[in-house]
Symmetry: C2
Subunit: 195 residues, 2 copies
């Protein structure tokens, strides 16, 4: 029978990822040293290498997990929703998910250029996969006449950019509640696709 895993590892592994995510998002991948991450966790730099083969993999894993989580959560959220209501569902979901994961969203967008070519291809594919979820919604609605769009692809990019932008200004303690912001973005999106 396998030996029970050491008690520290159950804590340290996730703690490293959380610290790395926070620091990478705040200062940028290249500007954060392994010693900084270790210090944040309360451990020395060498110990990090029990949990990740190297710094690049640490970054890559954070980005991959974010995007895979995003896709999985969306597929869960949309299941059982009629195509007609899918757009509204998407907007609500996207805003919610992104507000709750500012650091990860920031990282997955800002640090693309610090990925190796191979890792970049994987991350980029995941991003496109998510984008094409929205594109499919718009495309269906366009064909059915529910939406009237000048260009499906451009509208897709426009809506995603607009929605993701919420992270550059929204604050939970700000003037507007999360629900109010969601409603406003929903109305803006409706207008953008209105037949």
């Amino acid at each position: 029978m396998a030996r029970k895993i050491g008690s520290h590892a159950e804590i340290t592994g996730p703690a490293i990822r959380e610290a790395a995510l926070r620091l990478f998002a705040r200062s940028g991948y290249a500007a954060v040293s392994m010693r900084e991450i270790a210090s944040e966790v309360g451990v020395r730099a060498g110990a990090l290498y029990l949990y990740t083969p190297d710094k690049q993999t640490l970054l890559f894993d954070l980005m991959r997990e974010h995007l895979e989580g995003l896709l999985a959560a969306w597929r869960e959220a949309r299941s059982g929703i009629e195509p007609v209501e899918r757009l509204e569902c998407f907007v609500q979901f996207h805003v919610d998910y992104h507000i709750d994961r500012r650091d990860a969203v920031f990282l997955a967008y800002m640090e693309l250029r610090n990925l190796t070519d191979e890792n970049f291809a994987i991350i980029e594919a995941l991003r496109r996969e998510y984008e094409s979820e929205l594109e499919a919604i718009l495309s269906e609605g366009h064909k059915s006449g529910a939406f009237r769009l000048a260009d499906v692809r451009v509208t897709t990019m426009a809506v995603i950019a607009m929605l993701t932008g919420v992270n550059t200004w929204f604050s939970e303690e700000g003037r507007l509640s999360r629900e109010r912001v969601q409603r406003i973005y929903l109305n803006l999106t409706r207008r953008m696709v209105k037949a």
Copy 2:
């Protein structure tokens, strides 16, 4: 009478800024070394310090010049335009200006966190100044009844995020011409503010 400036300096100064802009945008400020920049210009690292006091100032100047240029160009573009047409003018201008300056736009957004606190405050003020140009347009239109907006501030941020997003996908050799893209974004913006 002042001595004529050395012949090299007329070339090298701008060349350094161009190389730095390109490299910073491609790989990130922290990931680019002074030796890389110098090599790109065809000079050794020490020579850079004849043109900039340090790396941080090099970054800061690039960002400041971009934002100051953006503001000045916009104020030039809008002059003589009636308030009613200002929004359309803004969209055209913003898309055009941003498409033509991908690296600078990218830099001024991505590298905010690598600025010293003092420099960050200056850059951030310039950004807000530009944003409030659009906000003023929307606010006027809202008051006059030309637009119907749920929230002026959120709509401002939404429009800017949507428009700036053009840089993440547009290519001059792509499926759509610049003029076509401008028109699509213009229509999307019109819908977002429609009374």
